[in-house]
């Protein structure tokens, strides 16, 4: 057998050496003809549809429709230029004193190896969107074997001309569709305006887990997480801006901490508010979950008198019950402190305070 292999092998090698260039060519040019070069300008007509929790509104409903001219900024530090094609009244008049808008501190780069541990990308066909040829691309969950997102990626620019994301049950939760996309628009006569506001970030500091514990001795990092999520960052959002402005989080003067977990694609953000005027540290029994129906974008939260707040935002692919379980597990003294087996999945209502929502 080895003798036969020994004869076969050189032939393979010779041929492969000869065809190596061809195989590279296929990969360079034929197999992976991906590009991510965006045009310097474009015109786009985009529709965004989202799912709601309203049982009478099955499927996706229109959230926004935009017609926009875009021009690449002169430097990467400059915000891109946009001109919404909806008439001048839609764009606020420029004033000498632009209002300041604060955006959240940046999320650290997600670990790509974690992404591939939990997902894979499949490029599986061709389609058309906005009259352009695009690759059908899916992000597949390794755990479920189902797509968590589908895209149609423009062959020329790499732009996702159609994006659909799915929830845990495979129902579409979000769809963005480019109805028109012109990478060579006529920009003559378009005077791209400045943004009608000044964008700044909430000042923040990254903390270690120990630093968080020192500041918030009444909580701990979650002892239970769904799937393969890992700690990404802990951010302390400063209460005061450099210009002296005081931020009020949900109406309260509080210290705000953001604990970020990721599975490489989704980011689970847990917000902790610790009011400044409270001296008594809360205990587990002080917390309760909100009663009553939850609307689509409501925070899934636990709150205690003070109010201390532990909250996270609704996630497409994490059930509400699991979100509450994460939050409860951050409050010591619950049944999850006992040695419960992996098959035991106590409902959040059994883990601590009052919980009528489930």
């Amino acid at each position: 057998m080895l003798g036969r292999t020994g004869r076969v092998v050189p032939l393979i090698v010779v041929v492969l050496l000869v065809v190596s260039a061809a195989s590279m060519a296929q990969v360079d040019i034929g197999l992976l003809p991906f590009r991510a070069q965006l045009p310097d300008a474009f015109y786009a007509h985009v529709v965004v549809e989202v799912a709601t929790d309203d049982p009478e509104k099955a499927g996706l409903t229109l959230e926004s429709e935009q017609r926009v001219y875009y021009k690449k900024p002169d430097s990467p530090d400059v915000f891109p230029y946009y001109y919404p094609d909806v008439g001048p009244q839609a764009w606020p008049a420029e004033t000498s004193e632009l209002p300041t808008v604060y955006e959240t501190p940046p999320i650290p780069e997600l670990p790509i190896d974690l992404f591939y541990a939990n997902y894979e990308i499949r490029v599986h066909g061709l389609d058309e969107a906005a009259g352009r040829s695009c690759f059908l691309v899916s992000i597949m969950s390794r755990a479920s074997g189902h797509p968590v997102a589908d895209y149609c990626v423009d062959r020329e620019t790499g732009l996702a001309l159609r994006s659909v994301t799915y929830d845990l049950h495979g129902n579409a939760t979000y769809r963005r569709t480019y109805l028109e996309f012109d990478p060579d628009p006529d920009l003559e006569g378009i005077d791209f305006p400045r943004l009608p506001f000044r964008v700044m970030q909430y000042p923040s500091t990254d903390l270690t887990a120990d630093e968080l514990t020192a500041r918030l001795p009444w909580i701990r990092l979650p002892t239970w997480l769904p799937g393969n999520f890992q700690l990404l960052a802990i951010q302390h959002w400063h209460r005061q801006a450099p210009d002296g402005r005081i931020f009020r989080w949900w109406g309260q003067e509080s210290e705000r901490y953001e604990i970020l977990y990721t599975d490489g694609l989704d980011v689970l953000t847990i917000t902790v508010l610790a009011p400044l005027d409270q001296t008594k540290l809360p205990e587990r029994t002080d917390f309760s979950a909100p009663a009553g129906p939850l609307d689509d974008n409501a925070l899934r939260s636990l709150s205690a008198t003070g109010p201390y707040v532990l909250a996270t935002r609704k996630m497409d692919r994490i059930p509400d019950g699991d979100l509450y379980r994460i939050l409860w597990s951050m409050l010591p003294g619950g049944p999850e402190d006992d040695d419960i087996g992996p098959d035991v999945n106590p409902e959040p209502m059994y883990q601590g305070g009052h919980y009528d929502a489930l």
């Binding site: 076969v8 000869v18 926004s64 992404f115 591939y116 894979e120 953000t269």
Partner: protein, 321 residues
Amino acid sequence: MRCRSWRILLVVALAVVVAPAVHAQFRDVIPEGFLPLSTIDLKSYYARVVTETLSPDGREVLMSTEGEVYYKRGEAADDPGQWHLFADGERLGTYSAPVPAPPVELFFRNYELRITGIDRILDRTCHVVEVVVRAEERPLFSVCVDQETGVTLRYEQHFPEGIVRERLTHFEPNIDLSQVDLGDPEPQAAHTRDITLAELQTIVPWIRLPAGTPEGYELIGIQLMSLKVEEAGDINTAYLYYSDGLERFNLSIVLWPDLVQNPSRALFEETLGPADVVIPKAATLAYKGEDRTKLSLMGFATNLSSTDLAEMLWSMLPEDE
């Protein structure tokens, strides 16, 4: 290393779950690139390539050869450029992308790509891409594609006889090739042009498209090559290229005048390539012409058997009356 395009992918994917900023309505239309790969900036490269054959369990290196590659992209936007191969300082040849190229639609009819992981080769980030045979859900081979340039840093395919792996041991993208002697351009011995099936049938009225082409394969092009031969004048050869979007085989016929006049099956003699040659498989039909026996029909493939090729060659001939 910051993976900008990768971050872009995630930004796009995460746009719906990250808390929207005030100006999200504008951000929502930022036309960011999607895939974590790009080949846009690659003008040239130099690489050293090691091709190894390993035992089926991957533990033993049975054979190893090394070569060098200089790549230069073409001037025109649609010109993929050329690869100049060297081994032991000797020039092996210059190669271009296969022509005719199979349509991408055909590739996706038979295969799909799965980007399954990430690796580090030569201190560069590459994405592991598997080419999967769609009908069988079977990985055919895998490559690790450099995130910044799109160049394959590693190629690996498993055969029953062993594992063939080709990997770069040195890679320099976008080098200045003006000081590199790539040798003289190889003389064009033949003139080749694309023709249609109707044109071919005008030249060879009896020719038929081969029967028994493998499932998933399509005729992707016909070329006519004219070669000046001193004793015989212009000799034309027609090439029929078939592909399933990735694999290719070709069937060719040398248009000897006496063969075109009299394609009697009795005048052909079949020869199969050696059975133990893994790549390429070959079959030929020699023609006992008026003056001598001449090579006339040939088939070459990487993943078909010689007998399959021979059957297809026979099926191109008319039935004897």
